[in-house]
């Protein structure tokens, strides 16, 4: 099948692209403005495939300044979008460790001690210190709290209702069609296979969709973007080495929580110094609460779900959350390399937009608006090229799309942010100081080097000071025998308190999957996670893929080789960057393909 433009992945960037493009395919009188080369007489034929079962599934809550989004909808009150609220109050809060179990450095321990001793001077309450101001580079004061699920749904409804482009959810794209140095379209995933990909009854091989332009917006762990990077290469010195797993819940707050819609809390310090947290308040007593577990949190048993529970239980937050009910839950990998992770933005027959194109501003902690804007910029470029009947070559796309992007605020601000997080590889304090200095000096002063991530510590290196080697070994063997993750045992042993389950908000990990939106995997597709060389997994001590798996879809299997259950996979992609098989996590032992299914919640 042939179309003019094939698009992969529906998120904010693709929303921006299709919103802008769909408005310009026809003239005001209904005649064709941008004519299809494939179907003369018709407008450009545009088709978009999204692997998730719905266009609003499996994404996250966000706070954004929405500069680009607002400019795309002049005169529209964006707070009318379900779950959207204007930002009214914003605080940056340092959380002390009430459990005494956190892996705090001497600097953090000293800070805690000073704050506790002189808390009356600093206004210390609920084991937390509200910083007197939020740095300007972090502020979202003029922005919006959004549910990205509802936002994407709202955008896709309008785009689809125009009838000008087609958007198909529930259809994974296996990869790009690469011919020489050009992308000639995409190949859809095979259907009617067993879990190993062998043809079964009703087998339908993945169809080739040829296109003059392939728009890649499938995010940082998308199959198409990663295959283009692997085959056509990345710019020198560029690479996606820094990551974070964002895990969050949408909570229905009790009536008297006292939290006003539009309230935004950013937190640092707890549950571990490296883990940042947030709480955004939506209308109708809903709040998004979550944490970011970054790749520079160098624990050999780093995990997210249990840390999220301890985060919610922090006294500063629990006074709001107690009595609340889980409405939704989800997780997503975030590409934290920013501009350093930027691939070639355009090539012959293709263009990259959104988070997978390195658009996230790692200093501001902002990605949605930037992603949207890159989509709009590509749409403007496509309109320009189509009107001039020019081909979608690298040269033409660089002169139109990339030029627009380089001249925009997205690029200007990403240059300021580019080295701001360099310091995190050397420690949290160094990282935070580096960020602050970069932000306050407009990027003129930053940590000089971007050191390569060091190897994760072994269990003994990570916990040997708290747990004897013999006991660690015994824990490992017991967990291996039972097929359970190790982090729970280690955290229990290190003094993390048990979670007081309440059946509503503090629930087991598996209950979160069931009650938080449900995870489903349509039959007829192959497993999208597999382990390339099982012997490497067998020899791996930490098995971080098991510890970090958001849905407990990867578990310890026989002879040390993990097993994968796609019916629990939320497609967060954490396994991809947590595989330590080759040391740096950039290209581990895990094959992560395009997969169908995932979360079924539009509240995220």
């Amino acid at each position: 099948m042939t179309v003019d433009i094939a698009c992969v992945g529906f998120g904010p960037a693709m929303g921006g692209f299709l919103t802008m493009l769909s408005r310009c395919l026809l003239n005001a009188d209904g005649s064709v403005r941008l004519e299809s080369a494939m179907s003369p007489g018709l407008p450009l034929q545009v088709i978009c495939y999204e692997r998730g079962d719905g266009l609003g599934f499996g994404v996250s809550g966000a706070v954004t300044r929405a500069r680009g989004i607002r400019s795309s909808f002049p005169g529209v009150d964006l707070t009318e979008i379900p779950m959207a609220a204007a930002v009214k109050k914003e605080k940056l809060v340092y959380l002390l460790d009430p459990t005494r179990a956190s892996r705090r450095s001497l600097a953090f321990k000293a800070a805690d001690r000073v704050l506790r001793s002189f808390g009356f001077l600093f206004g210390l309450k609920h084991d937390a210190f509200e910083l007197p101001y939020t740095p300007l580079f972090m502020k979202k004061h003029d922005g919006l709290v959004l549910s990205l699920g509802q936002f994407n749904q709202w955008v896709s409804d309008q785009v689809a209702a125009s009838g000008m482009v087609q958007i198909w959810p529930g259809m994974p794209v296996a990869g790009p069609l690469i011919e020489g140095d050009a992308v000639a379209g995409v190949r859809l995933a095979d259907q009617g296979t067993d879990l190993q990909g062998h043809p079964q009854t009703g087998f339908t091989p993945g169809m080739d969709l040829r296109a003059a332009l392939t728009v890649v917006g499938d995010g940082p762990v998308g199959a198409v973007g990663r295959k283009i990077d692997a085959q056509l290469g990345m710019p020198p010195e560029h690479g996606s080495r820094e990551w974070a797993l964002g895990m969050k819940m949408v909570v229905e707050l009790r009536d008297d929580s006292g939290l006003e819609p539009g309230t935004v809390l950013h937190t640092i310090g707890f549950p571990e110094p490296e883990i940042f947290g947030f709480l955004y308040v939506h209308p109708d007593r809903l709040a998004s609460v979550g944490i970011f577990v970054p790749s520079w949190f160098r624990s050999p048993v780093r995990t997210a779900y249990r840390y999220l529970q301890h985060f919610m239980l922090h006294p500063y937050l629990w006074r709001y959350l107690e009595g609340g009910t889980l409405k939704s839950w989800g997780a997503k990998s975030l590409q934290e390399s920013g501009r350093h992770g930027e691939p070639f933005l355009a090539g012959n027959g293709y263009a990259r937009i959104g988070e997978g194109s390195g658009s996230t501003n790692v200093l501001a902690g902002s990605g949605v608006d930037e992603a949207w804007t890159t989509g709009v910029q590509l749409a403007e470029a496509v309109i320009e090229l189509a009107e001039q009947k020019r081909a979608f070559t690298r040269e033409n796309l660089e002169g139109s799309y990339v030029r627009r992007r380089r001249e925009s605020w997205v690029d200007r601000e990403s240059k300021i942010a580019v080295d701001s997080r360099n310091g995190f590889q050397q420690g949290v304090v160094t990282g935070m100081i580096g960020m602050a200095v970069a932000g306050l000096t407009g990027g003129r002063v930053t940590p000089a080097a971007r050191p390569a991530p060091s190897h994760l510590p072994t269990l003994e290196e990570g916990y040997g000071s708290r747990i004897s080697p013999a006991e660690l070994k015994q824990m490992q063997e017991e967990c291996a025998a039972k097929g359970t993750p190790l982090h729970d045992r280690i955290m229990d042993r290190c003094g993390w308190p048990q979670i007081p389950m309440d059946g509503k908000l503090l629930i087991s990990h598996q209950d979160a999957l069931l009650m938080g939106g449900g995870v489903q995997a349509a039959p007829g597709y192959a497993n999208h996670v597999s382990f390339r060389r099982p012997e490497l997994c067998g020899a791996c001590e930490t098995k971080l893929c098991v510890e970090m798996c958001s849905g407990q879809a990867i578990t310890r299997g026989e002879e040390g080789v993990p097993t994968f259950d796609r019916e629990k996979c939320v497609y967060c992609g954490a396994c991809l960057w947590n595989c330590a098989a080759d040391g740096d996590g950039a290209q581990g032992n895990i094959e992560f393909k395009a997969g169908a299914g995932g979360l079924h919640s539009a509240l995220n």
């Binding site: 099948m1 689809a160 209702a161 009838g163 198909w168 009703g202 389950m501 059946g503 449900g518």
Partner: protein, 269 residues
Amino acid sequence: MTNGYHIVVCGSIVPDPLQTLEPIQTPTGPALKNEMMLPAVLDPWAAHALYEAANLASKAAGTKVWLVSVGPKAKLQQVMMTIAQRVSFELVPVDSSASGFADAHSTAALLAETIQGIAGLDRSRLLVFGGWESASRGAGATMQLVGERLEILDQFQGVDQLSVQADGSFEVLERIEGGRHQVSVCQGPPALFGWATGNLPEPRNNPQVGMANMRTVMPALQRAKSVPLADGGLHFLSASPPKQQRQTRVVKDLSAEQIAQEIAEWIGK
């Protein structure tokens, strides 16, 4: 031999079954909390009927399939993005309520009126398909009422299989008590079939089917008339989801057999 059938499938949307549903009272009666924010799917019973229609169409040349769908236009559009890439049909949407609290008589009247308004529909070739039951309209009466309003005498409910015989007649398997089927033979159209689950797997996504469908689906949605659904004098005293009891206990040292035993004992209580 036939020149093909005119199959009209009645099928609307229901909230995605993976969602937690919370009934609330509104000034106009019971509703589901935030129903417009919840993801929706084609009613699974109606979906089986649609897949059976597509299967029959693939075997009887000249057959045309319409999908008559009553529901909020925006939600119908979302669901069509998934359904329309699986089987070929022409959508006949009606912008109205898809609430599970709608009156079956009013819904049937609206469906029958809409079917009668389909241009070019040939009653002598007409087969009306729908779900025997519904994931939201659980009365199981709507399709029967549609048939009565269309004056279709040959009606079958709980259908699992429909086979076209050499003489053009239909052999129909309907579910009856005891896990058995009642076998009937019907001369041919017009007839109405309220489908149970059928025997067909969910069709695969087909981009070409999607491209073809969408050329008519989106214009049809844009033209969809907004029709209020009469309450039919229906009055609900109360509404509540099926009772469920959730009890979570974290165990770390029990074998699978022990856990199974404990669950069995818990259910027994």
